[in-house]
Symmetry: D5
Subunit: 122 residues, 10 copies
């Protein structure tokens, strides 16, 4: 089961500057709550850190925990946005999930966290 | 025959936030009203939901219903825009249809719904 | 010989809305007026219709008529822009011609028609 | 040896309109002034003509004349910008040189001519 | 060990003009300070020079010196930004590092130097 | 309904030589007999003609006639192979159907007609 | 847990002919038995049917059953080969698994079933 | 009108060795004899020379002469094969024509000249 | 320093069958013994196992040990071939190294181990 | 002027084994002897060494020496084949030159050296 407590952080090495970090996980998988069939996505975490950065291995384990969870595209994207927003309190944060073909459709869901000092998200 | 009543919705799981949903159907086909020959397109539905989201399976069936309907590129794009605008009343909505080669031409038609609160459509 | 009278139109099916039509012809050919050698281009017609849309088959025949005409890259792009601007009186119009390699060069020429109400040309 | 006098022009066929011309030469080569080894680049000339356009064959010969000249990436890009700016007095002008791998690096140098009436350079 | 003193410069050949230089090194490698495993990146140095330009061979040697240094993605990007900012005092400067797959993730880190006269960074 | 009688032929213009003809139709669609959902394929007809060649427009109409027919991947590929083998009696014939993603699968089915004189099918 | 009994078959519609069926599943995932981390692969089943063909939906469910099973690349490829060989007794059969990047490696494992009458596997 | 007399040759510079020459013309165009619409192809001439090679500029003019000629895909490929076979009497010769999309089809026609001493055609 | 003792093996899970394993390492780096500059390669290990398979993590560590070793392209490819041949005594083995651009060249070196029972190496 | 004496060799590090070396130079340029215009090619040297290998830097200088030499595609490919065959006396040798677009044509010329013991050239 997904769990925001899996997320770990480390201090921002350059807090004097706005800089952009962009991690894309190419191996996200969860389960459709209607059919029980697996879904697959690339998920991008794009943020300008404030006091802390997310530790990459903990982010991987946080994503792995969705593996057998039934959850919709729209809900999982917003949940990741909420969890990372709370954990990092970043200057800005965007989550982008790109889903593999399902019934002839590909889908992309994009959510932005309304943090403080958001200046550079290109 | 195409029918807007095929569209079903579910409640927006994150109405407190503007977020962008982008569904692309890669298997749209209709018929040229002049020649009777089939036309093929990729159709993107890009919107910021307000109170409801479109259910993906119902969107597929709504698109399948155009299979044997004679209709021009420009008309079908605007009809999908009107039908989804009415069904979702989204904060913003764009329809993009990309048509396969016909007589040495490829075509793209883009229509935006003039909804309320349109803020984020990138 | 090229002839603007070949262009036919049909009524805009959605005049209540600005929407963008983008036709790309992948088989344009004319002749270099200096050397007599053939030139090849992809030509994009991108416009927001006002009262009328261009009929696609007539656009093809209009382009075919340049086949044995000697004309420079810059001149043919501007002539197509003038002819379609006059025929459609669109809310906006852009012509983009992309020319195949000639003497180690590829070329792109872009011309915009200064129509009325030009709002959406992305 | 490179020579701005090789550049020839012809009258702009559509001076009533700002339009964009984009010539990319895929076969530029000069010599590194330090090592004597050859360098290779794609060079784009992008401009809005005013009274004159550059004749394509003369532009090719102008580029060929750099073949055995020792000159740095930054210097050659600015020299081409100066030479074409003076020859054409265009409404706007940008030179982009993209250099092949050298010591594990690829490089791009971009220079804009500060002409008059610069309005459309996208 | 990395060393900013390895960076050498030469006088800007066109100081009268803002122009953009973009060097991408495709062979950067350092070591993860946690696991000791190697990391690989493409690193782009994009800047508008003021009085001096960075000499390309010295930039290569500066990058080679990270080969056996343990340092995180975020830290190395900001260190390169600081070192080049101090060495060049450019009109603007951006560093972009694109990291190869690590645990199912690819990452991009982007940092801008807050120099003087920054006008053209596209 | 599909109908082998739609196929028309014309005399082989070079019967003195084995030569290979390869027509790929990128717009084939039929219907799944189990679910009623549409299937999409690229279908290649590769043959060495003997006395006759297949006329391309009639081949298009023959393929269009499958549009609303319920038939499996394996069956339709073999039916096309049988129909064209009977109509053309070619020196050799291969049918290759490549099917779009269905439930996370893409499929390719390849059938060869056992004609006479088969010498060149690469 | 994976289970060969999930595989269902239907009668070969063209047993008079050797023809090749090629199903590629793009969404295979299992778990590394050493680390517990997920693995991802594209798996191709390529065979010439004899009396029966594999039903595609049952093949999908058979693959889904590996989702939480700990098994090595080499073992899973050979197990799929054994299971499908026994279920189909095909004229020939090849299994190809292509694994996503793991520790800087991509891997491909290919196993052929030694069936009877194997003539056409290209 | 096409004319085999346009083909010029020069002596093979290495007659002591079988070597392969492969010229691909990317700008071939002729006319459909049924509809009068233009057709476009890439045409490859692949041969092992014996006593003579084809001069490239004369080959271009030979191809240009088809510009306004009405001729089918199959016929033009065999005519080019016959004309070049007679002009060069090569050790081997293959003509490959790849045609742009026409009614949802792309086509490839391949013809081999039955010359003498054919040993190396890869 | 590279060391064949780093290679670990595990028992072949399917010794009753010839099957092909293909591991490609995308992050190989060593040092040029002439200039001291780093070299980069993709290295493929392709083999049919006999009694044992190579363990993937040990293969990674074996490759990492070349990081600061001065060795030529030809020598390193043959050394890997010898080391893996001795460690695995496979039914067949091929090593392919693909080297990044160096002085305008890319290089590929391919070596086959002359093992016993070599039957399937495609 | 090109000069076979520029080629240097070093002893084959693995003469007990047939192995394949494949060097591709992406920056070859010479001059058309008819027009004086520059030609550009990628040139591949593919060989199985016997007693010696070609030293890569000397091969680069050998290729650079063609820079201002007027020579035809067919002649230069055969000259390189002769020069390298004499210098290396390899077990096998193939030269492949791929020429950039010239008058709408791209060309490939392939020559094999008839050495001794030629067994593996794939």
């Amino acid at each position: 089961m997904s769990d925001a407590k899996l997320l770990e952080t480390f201090p921002n090495p350059a807090p004097h500057r706005d800089f952009l970090i962009d991690h894309t996980h190419h191996e996200f998988t969860s389960v459709c709550p209607m059919t029980g069939h697996p879904d697959f996505a690339d998920i991008t975490v794009r943020y300008v850190p404030d006091k802390t950065c997310v530790e990459l291995k903990s982010l991987k384990l946080y994503f792995h925990a969705f593996r057998n969870q039934g959850i919709f595209f729209e809900a999982v994207t917003n949940k990741i946005c909420d969890d990372l927003g709370k954990a990092l309190k970043p200057r800005s944060l965007t989550i982008i999930s790109k889903w593999k073909a399902r019934g002839g459709f590909t889908s992309v869901v994009t959510a932005e966290w309304s943090g403080k000092n958001a200046k550079m998200t290109r």
